[in-house]
Amino acid sequence: MTSLETPPAATATDLQDERLAAPQGFRDHLRGTVRRARDGDLGMLPVIAGVVVIWTIFQSLNATFLSSTNLVNLAFDMVSLGVIALGIVCVLLVGQIDLSVGSVSGVAAATTGVVMVRHEQPLVLAVLVAIGAGALIGWLYGQVLNRFGVPSFVATLGGLLAFLGTQLWLLRGQNAINLPYDSTLVRFAQVWFVPEALAYLFAVTAAGGFLAAGLLRARKRRRAGLSSVSTRWLAAQALALGAALVFAVYYLNRTRGVPWMFMLFVVLVLALQYVLTRTGFGRSLYAVGGNAEAARRAGINVRGVYTAAFVMCSTLAATGGVLAAARLAAANQSTGTADVNLNAIAAAVIGGTSLFGGRGSAFAALLGVLVIQSISSGLTLLNLDSSYRFIITGAVLLVAVALDSAARRSRQAHGRG
């Protein structure tokens, strides 16, 4: 308190304030993580704990739940809903909502079926038309919000009905359009797996990449005179990540293996996470969700950001719809209806995305959909009908949001915003 001279040069620029507790090594990082969690900065912890609890319960009720076969199915089944939930994260981040993702996914599924089967066009064209329709719908929502100031809640509620109608009109009384089993799309969603050796390579590369990126960043920070994480802490994290991934690959490969469709989902999650955290555009999504007026004054094109968020959401919803049709090998009247909307939104929120904008991540969609799909899969194994599924999913959503609110209060009390 008494010394006023500048701190010695050995102290990193960002740690010179004497009020700061500076982490030095492995133990300090671990301790800091625990302290952050206790203050309510829980990050992904609650949802990971939720997955563990749900898996434990279902495994104790039915020993096949955690079997390799069932987890492979889970990896297949979560992709469609997960991709839709990724889109929901985008619109929730800017403080908007899209209630029509289910219908949009249904329209995309029906479009794929119509173009591919009824008009006998190539698969690529069918998928492009379906996803392009999704992008167009998102652009439309953006225009309705920006030009007419219609709240997205209302506009997309209208869209929910209108696009459900479009889906039924496209199918024209046919209950379903069956996609041929030998088409690439269906095979991709049902029988294509990453070769075992390649899957291990992916797992090891992911951990190695994490470590390399971390070390590179730490070295750059040291050169810039900023604090950096200890190499041992990074190595420990990379090792844990690598071990988890290798084990997952090993376990899934005991039966069928890692689906390519699941890899597509992982790539989409990582790509969105990169866009959200490492680009100026991603930052403007958070900024618009946090304080649209401040973002506007900072020179951000707020209307453009809204439009981009809706386009991303509807495009991802359409992609999810195509994948749902592929998984079922059919586009039918109920694709994307019933609980798809609410499950996608619930997945994003369970994963920790705020309904009020400005907070969330791509991993939120991944973990949230894992929770929801686990519940669904577990109850199916127990031969319980959908009534239980709705009730339990609803309860989990309530617990997740309540926990999030409590954590937010704790964060505020501990000055972590």
Partner: protein
Amino acid sequence: MTTPAAPAAPGEATTGVLSLRGVSKQFGAVAALTGIDLDVAAGEVVAVVGDNGAGKSTLVKILSGVYTPDAGTILFHGEQVTLQSPAAAHQLGIATVYQDLALCENLDVKANLFLGQEIRPWMLDDIAMEKRSWELLRELSARIPTLGIPVAALSGGQRQTVAITRALLGRPEIILLDEPTAALGVAQTAEVLNLIERLRGNGLGVVMISHNMDDVRAVADRVAVLRLGRNNGVFDARQVSSEDVVAAITGAADNAVSQRAARRAATPREGQENP
């Protein structure tokens, strides 16, 4: 210091970086500003005071490029300029810190500082941004312990610091502060006043809009009074008394403030003396 303008030598403070001559603005039938003259030099704090409706906000908006004046000229380094948009004003070297600060509370300090002007937007250079943030904060001797926390976790004074620091990113020559101490406590106000003195020390011209006579007298070099959209005198802040400024603001030596003071002087309470 990194600011381009050198601190003004004593005695030359009258040749301004920014000068307004006869600036007027009309809203329908209402003349919000009529023939306003104002000079701001490098290394000088000019306080603009006035009652509600005196035209302070309109003046800020003209200087920050939100409104264009109907008449009059704006001179920047002696050359006539037009401020078409906030971006144009910023480009020229006039930065504005609005009263509501316009920060995103969910983003951390460095994200807020570089919002809308990120370094390498397709692969954010966090390290360069953090380094530059610390440089700026050190220049201002600002006391923000860490840049990694969301702005929501900062105090009012710290938020004001962040907002002012952000304004400095574009290396402006003139900085406009709209009611910088309005919502702050005693200690935080002092913190912000220190910050304003450091801005002056770094050679910036500061225009400070304020209601608070104590703050004005504490940091300003000159006080420009607006009344009903017109200039009503420019005072040397070190010489003028609060009564004179209040008289200029209200337009009469016999005003509500002086009447109140006289009343309280006539009936002094126990243990309390009035000047």
